[in-house]
Amino acid sequence: MDQKELREWEARCIQEEPPACRAGCPLNVDARAFVLAMADNDFDAARGVLEKSMPLAAVTARLCEAPCEVFCVRANLGGAIAVGGLERLCIRETRPKGKILRLPARPKKVAVFGSGPSSLTVAFDLAKKGYPISVYHLGVKPGGWLRELPDSFLPQSILDEELERLGTLHVTFVSVPALDATLVQAHEADAVYVGQDDTLAPDLAALLGPPDPDTLALERSGWFTGGMEGREHRFISAVSHGREAAVSMDRFLQNASLTSSRVPLRSGRTALFTRTDGVEPVKRIIPADPVGYNREEGRSEASRCLDCQCLECVRHCAYLAEHGAYPKSYARRVFNNSAIVQGIRQANTFINSCSLCGQCEVLCPNDFSMADMCLDARREMVSLKRMPPSAHWFALEEMRSAKDGQAALIRHAPGTNESVALFFPGCQLSGIRPDQTLKLYERLLELEPRTGIWLDCCAAPAHWAGRAEEFAGLLAGMEKLWAGMGRPKLVTACSTCLKVFSEHRPDFGAVSVWTLLAGEAVAPGAARPALALSDPCTSRHDSATRDAVRCLLDKLGQPLSPLAMSGELTECCGFGGLMDNANPALARKVAEARVAQSDADFLTYCAMCRDQLAKTGKPVLHILDLLFPELARPASEPPAGISLRRVNRRQLKDAVLGRHGLDRGARQPWEDVRLAISAPVAALLEERRILEDDVRQVLYAASRSGRVLRHGTDSRVVAAARLGEVTFWVEYREGEGGFEILKAWSHRMRISGGDL
């Protein structure tokens, strides 16, 4: 990812867009943070939010007309949050947060004529930036029309106090008899502001002319004005003018462009999306005392705030929620991970944990796809040789084993020498449900006797792992095999295989077996309670298959229990994108979050979804349990482990070959090593991703070499062997029924000169 791509990704996520209230505030006050702090009863923090953006907060908060309220998303759900009322409560109940900080002094001088709100804002904003300011005002004290307000709106003592604070920022107040043209023209300041929200002499008013509407600059260089009449809110509009003029004056004094990269007022415009479905209306709190809210009332009113956020994707994705932020910030993490030259790449696991399921893209109002971003990042890591070797190792090994001669097979149906269709059950269905796979093949043969079978893996793991070159090579190899069969249409039983072929080998003409079966007669099944149908994430954009499954279930008479995130919004089981490999703990959380969405037992039509969801202990059925009741497995059956899947694939190949009167040929010499494995040890092997086949190979190698470690006082023996990239160790006892396995472990680190 380069800088340009980062910016493109960032621009897609709208979570950092301001909430409507902030966008509607001409001073850019973070009204959401303010109201939330009030709701939290942290009035000091709330004042801090106001003081961060408001000039003379004690005055501004008292007089602010709260134009933000017009934009409040709560407006139609009980009324906009009374931000203005809350501002007054907060400012009344708290004290200023201390000294106002001023930047180092700057040499250029500013003169401000008039002392209405716009002028005081200019003085405040530019004084903070270090400019010495002279404010010329009428009367004894500065303040203009603010001096005319009753104490119930603005106590004069408060105004005095705020102006005193302003004085500490090197602002000098000078009383003059008239604000006239002579006074302004005679002044030698580097920049001049004339506040029209004070009483100007007619000659000065005539001299000004209209300012530039965007910069408030007057024709005469260095002169600025604001506070003109005719705007909706007398006070806050004047303050807003003062702020805009101060921005222009600062730029002018630094010889910068007045307009370049200038952010215009948003006037309530924001791209932030906030979902309000299901938000109950709550009426605005009316203060018992017309003067304003008391603390309790204020808290209640503030607690009506919706805390507008988008987070559409994060709310539904355990992966996105797990990492504590949102896609815009994740894009930065991915960029930083790729940009780092030395040190630890912090985001490798993050990038490899995305299930690539694509739900976020559907939910996002702006189509942000974490899947595309993470897959691109993985491809880059692979091409730069930065992909951690262990990240996807197990899944890639499993893929390769499903494609090797022990498990893979492609054949026409027995007694035929051509195929019009080719059944591609997928490696996981073959590994998890071999009997049902065979039965499904028999059913397809009934429908079309010229249906061949292809036991293989679609190479999705290579794709998900970002190994673009390997993936392309594997697909090219598959194309040759398919062409050798006469290019029949593929019939897949796995949504992932179907997606891979549809997107990368459309010439295979792959269709779902469920679509095929939905068009045939199906005997209704036994009455069952309603099941929650979990669509596999790889069927997200395949409504034809999803509809076919529902049609099949309807024919079977299977009622369905509603599951909110279904169809196009469906969720991953935790296996997709190799999440389970890179981050097994997160994959478990994802599965747990999924099954928690319904009290009903689950039903899926993806073998891997079935087993991933069943790992949580939730009863989960595969659709084949309903289609072939005679071979149905209990919904509560634990998942097939990693070792069993390998054995099942070999045995399925044996069974298919047996129908042709053929044999798989030479077995691996270690296949016959007999093991005795207790349930706890089996669980340990599963967790450590050590196959029983690995254990067999270690023991076989040790029996050939005779090299083991034997314990001095008990009968334990330890053997080791390097199998590919990993060294496996096995501790065991020798018994008559085979080897009793006590534990096994592995490491990737190599022992130099070690001869295992």
């Binding site: 912090q346 490798n348 090299r707 001095g712 534990k743 490491h747 022992i751 070690g754």
Partner: protein, 69 residues
Amino acid sequence: MSLVFMPEDMDWVCEPCGERLTPGKVELNYLGNVFHVELPVCPKCGFVYLYEDLAMGRVLEVEQLLEDK
């Protein structure tokens, strides 16, 4: 990585050498990084015992660190 790693139970005998394991200097390497450590070794044939706690603890930690480097 500190230098010496020994399991609590050192009562292991190398077969067929018939020698009890003793601490010995070993070079470990991963992804081009080399570490010199002391591990239980057969004094005769040099067979190195990378025991479970070490493999699943410190070694795994270092492997992951190097993979993210």
